[in-house]
């Protein structure tokens, strides 16, 4: 068993990316906004991916970046966008003592496990993977050789797991409707006209200068249309299109109605 020395380059990489990974983890836990948390986590995962590559596991590094960072985290963001923000982002802790206890226990756990690992692996020899990969055997080939021989059964079972997960997700996300309960267009239309609001909901940015999701629609009198607020985003002050405000421009009907100030409650919300 030949001890392979760890090169200076790797040490440099570790000491740069290690703090970055830590910062990402802490940022994920500490940031109020769930979207920010996801982005912090992406940061940590990318750093870990690099660690994999450095530690002679280029295949895993690629999978980490493509599957984890690319696919899974995007799935997270998707669900975040669907669910939106709510009170769970509040920083107020509702369970008494939970935060303090969690931090104390966490520090204790980290201390114990870290000390234990450090003590146990202080003089751990680094064998390196040169024997199984390298030369004409790539990392992927080494993994595949083992995966399709010794771990074949586990691999096949994994496929069953994935199928089950896919079906399970569909079952859980699916909304069951009895046949025939789907409403026709006529019924939908009728139901809509029975409400206080027969017209369509305003889209974002109507009458506004911009049309981003963050820009709510404006009502004809210039107030913000609450229906058009996007979830998860603070409604912004909308920069309005210029509109007639003066007496001369309004003409006679407005005169008669007394709507002299076109936006009396603007920006009230």
């Amino acid at each position: 068993m030949n001890d392979v020395a760890i090169g200076t380059g790797e040490a440099v990489v570790f000491w740069i990316l290690g703090p970055i990974a830590l910062a990402g983890a802490l940022g994920m836990v500490l940031s109020r906004n769930a979207v920010h948390s996801a982005l912090w986590l992406v940061n940590t995962m990318l750093a870990l991916g690099v660690f994999y590559v450095v530690q002679e596991a280029p295949f895993l590094g690629a999978v980490q970046i493509i599957v984890y960072t690319g696919a899974i985290m995007i799935l997270f963001l998707f669900v975040l966008m669907l669910v939106g923000r709510d009170s769970s982002d509040s920083v107020v802790e509702t369970l008494r003592g939970q935060r303090v206890a969690a931090i104390v226990l966490g520090i204790g756990f980290a201390g114990l496990v870290g000390a234990g690992i450090a003590r146990a692996t202080q003089d751990l020899p680094v064998t390196g993977l040169a024997a199984v990969q390298g030369g004409d055997t790539s990392n992927i080939q080494a993994i595949a050789r083992l995966l399709f021989t010794r771990y074949l059964l586990a691999f096949e079972v994994t496929s069953a797991l994935l199928i089950t997960a896919a079906v399970g997700a569909m079952v859980l996300a699916h909304i069951e409707r009895d046949p025939g309960t789907r409403r026709t267009q006529r019924e939908l239309s009728r139901a809509r006209f029975l409400t206080d609001r027969p017209q369509t909901l305003p889209g974002p940015g109507v009458y506004a200068r911009g049309n981003s999701v963050a820009a709510p629609a404006l009502l004809p009198d210039g107030r913000l249309a609450e229906d058009s607020f996007a979830t998860g985003i603070e409604p912004q002050e909308v920069e309005q299109m210029p509109r007639p405000t003066g007496r001369a421009q309004l003409g006679t009907p407005d005169d008669a109605l007394g709507t002299l100030d076109p936006a009396p409650e603007r920006g009230q919300r």
Binding site: L95, Q98, A101, A102, L105, G106, G108, F109, L112, V113, A115, G116, R119, A120
Partner: protein, 632 residues
């Protein structure tokens, strides 16, 4: 015990004797108000037909002992109780007494209970009683006897408490039931011992092998049987319930508490004669019980003002005579049973007469408010008077023959104890004459002391005819049973052929002694009661003897202070221990566990994060322990 012969002829259907009254009771109890109109007639009919059947069976019997095998009653392990009837001369005598006197009293009750809204229920209970009593005397094993024994106890309870709306009646019924239970425990234990020792409970099996037992066991069985007999027959020390049982309707007192049920103890001892023959100690106990009871009853009877209580104490006393007789062994069985039969007649007649008087006096029982009734109620007076003469042993009436026979037998024992018993019996005969004469004088003679508004009148024929018949029986029964058709010969198959006893004291002397005692008693009654005006309220300043007699020699007081009070203390202590100690421990444990579990349950907040926190805590502990073990 004579050889058993199989059932044949009419005797094979002797089970009908029990079934008829039982069916009557069932119909009357289950039929409800629909049977109100004719229920009493059905009740009379079943008993009369049972009497006729019993009479025919007796005629066919001819000195045999017939075993009527019916079906298996209990079959558990080695205990195999056949439900069978034993129809032998002894049970035949009882069957005739029960159905005969019972039929007369049923007829009487038709009139006596005419105005009672619950007459149907009354007849149902009476029929139930007759059925149970017949089972008691006809059963061919101790278990059947026990079933009948409990059946008559139940019927007695129901009938004493027939007017259950009266607190006194309900209390008396409870008292009777509880005191009977004390005796019943003795009987049950005796049966258990018999089964444990002999493996059988049938009379044939027991009497065949009882000689194999040790003397101590036989004595124990005899004493336990005696305890049962004392409870049922109102004998010392369980005599206190019988006078209180007079709270029931008078026909009940006549039938159950004078003529039949209370003599079941005598029957039990006579039936168990083969056991008692082997154990002089138990026989001595029977003698002692009889002598003590007959004295207590006679003394207590002298001071009672309640006409039915006087008769009740008289019953206690007369059954004491019967116990004394059967306690004497072979020389006394027949005498005791003869007295039982004649007593059944004249005491039933006396009770019916008392009932007639009460009927006339608006259900009053206070003799101090009677008086001068002889002219108003001639039939009652004559029949009652005949019963009275029979009871006190007036020459050539029933009591004279049978009571003298018992006293003779006592003297014939020959030793000092026999003389003592004989003299006690003679003394009690005098007391009997005293209290019965007092009763007669206070009720029928003298000046009327009636409550205002009471108008005595003679009872209707449906009541007087049974009284007349019983009076005839009272007069003739002794002569018939002792002289004309000697009971001794009839019962010879059961108790052995009569032997000419060696008389220690000549029979004539005994008769003269008893008659003299009787005359003295009557004269004393005349001196103390007849010559003077009877006060309407009982005098308060009386001698201690009178006071003791009024309280029945403090039997209730003794029972209360010896058993009831300590029992209550014990119960209270046990209840306290149970509530505070046992329940307290159990409840305390439960409360502790419940409280702590609900407090621990609070930790289950439902918040997943709390649970996860405890998981992390656990992980820290595991890591710490692991590290400590590895390093240490």
């Amino acid at each position: 015990m004579p050889e058993l012969s199989p059932a044949d002829g009419l005797i094979a259907s002797s089970w009908l004797l029990i079934a008829l009254p039982l069916a009557g009771a069932a119909v009357l109890l289950l039929g409800g108000r629909r049977t109100d109109r004719w229920g009493h007639l059905l009740g009379v009919a079943t008993v009369v037909s049972a009497f006729v059947l019993g009479l025919l069976c007796t005629v066919q019997l001819d000195g045999r002992a017939v075993d009527v095998d019916l079906f298996t009653f209990v079959s558990v392990g080695s205990l195999d109780v056949r439900a069978g009837l034993l129809f032998d001369p002894l049970s035949a005598v009882f069957v005739l007494l029960i159905t005969g006197v019972g039929a007369l009293i049923h007829v009487y009750s038709v009139g006596y209970m005419a105005h009672d809204p619950h007459r149907r229920r009354f007849f149902a209970y009476l029929n139930l009683f007759v059925a149970a009593m017949l089972l008691l005397v006809l059963g061919d094993n101790y278990v059947a006897l026990y079933v009948g024994w409990e059946g008559v106890g139940l019927a007695s309870y129901l009938l004493i408490a027939f007017w259950y709306e009266r607190p006194a009646a309900a209390t008396a019924a409870k008292k009777a039931f509880v005191m009977n239970r004390v005796g019943d425990v003795g009987l049950a234990l005796a049966i258990f011992v018999l089964f444990a020792q002999l493996g059988t409970v049938s009379y044939a099996g027991v009497f065949g092998s009882v000689g194999l037992l040790t003397g101590g066991t036989v004595t124990a069985i005899g004493l336990l049987l005696l305890l049962g007999a004392c409870g049922k027959s109102g004998q010392f020390p369980l005599q206190a319930w019988l006078p209180d049982a007079m709270e029931g309707p008078t026909p009940v007192s006549a039938l159950i508490h004078a003529a039949t049920m209370v003599t079941a103890g005598v029957y039990l001892i006579a039936r168990s004669a083969p056991i008692y023959d082997l154990t002089p100690a138990a026989r001595a106990a029977v003698l002692a019980v009889g002598a003590i009871t007959l004295t207590i009853g006679a003394v207590a009877g002298c001071a009672q003002d309640d006409v039915k209580k006087v008769l009740a104490y008289s019953t206690v006393s007369q059954i004491g005579y019967m116990f004394l007789a059967v306690g004497l062994g072979p020389i006394g069985y027949v005498a005791g049973l003869a007295h039982l039969l004649t007593h059944g007649f004249f005491k039933a007649g006396l009770f019916l007469g008392a009932g007639s008087v009460m009927h006339a006096m608006d259900d009053s029982v206070d003799m101090r408010r009677f008086g001068g009734l002889a002219s108003r109620m001639k039939t009652t007076f004559v029949t009652f008077g005949l019963g009275y003469l029979a009871l006190i042993g007036f020459p050539f009436l029933s009591g004279f023959y049978t009571k003298d026979a018992i006293i003779e037998a006592a003297f014939d024992r020959g030793d000092g104890w026999g003389s003592l018993l004989g003299w006690v019996a003679v003394l009690a005969a005098g007391l009997t004459a005293f209290y019965m004469t007092r009763l007669m004088l206070m009720t029928f003679a003298g000046r009327p002391r009636w409550e205002p508004g009471v108008h005595p009148h003679e009872s209707p024929p449906v009541m007087t005819v049974p009284m007349v018949l019983l009076a005839v029986g009272s007069v003739l029964a002794g002569f018939l049973l002792v002289v004309a058709f000697p009971l001794e010969e009839w019962l010879a198959p059961v108790f052995g052929a009569p032997t000419e006893a060696e008389h220690v004291v000549a029979p004539l002397t005994v008769s003269l002694l008893v008659t003299a005692a009787m005359v003295l008693g009557v004269l004393a009654a005349w001196v103390f009661v007849g010559r003077r005006e009877v006060p309407v309220t009982a005098p308060v300043r009386v001698s201690p003897v009178t006071r003791a007699a009024r309280r029945a020699l403090y039997a209730d007081t003794v029972n209360e202070s010896l058993f009831m009070r300590p029992g209550q203390w014990l119960t209270r202590a046990l209840v306290f221990i149970d509530n505070r100690g046992v329940d307290g421990a159990v409840n305390g444990l439960a409360a502790t566990l419940g409280g702590s579990s609900s407090r621990l349950g609070r930790a289950q907040t439902g918040f997943v994060r709390s649970y996860a926190l405890s998981m992390l805590g656990g992980a820290v502990v595991v890591a710490g322990v692991l590290l400590a073990v590895t390093v240490g």
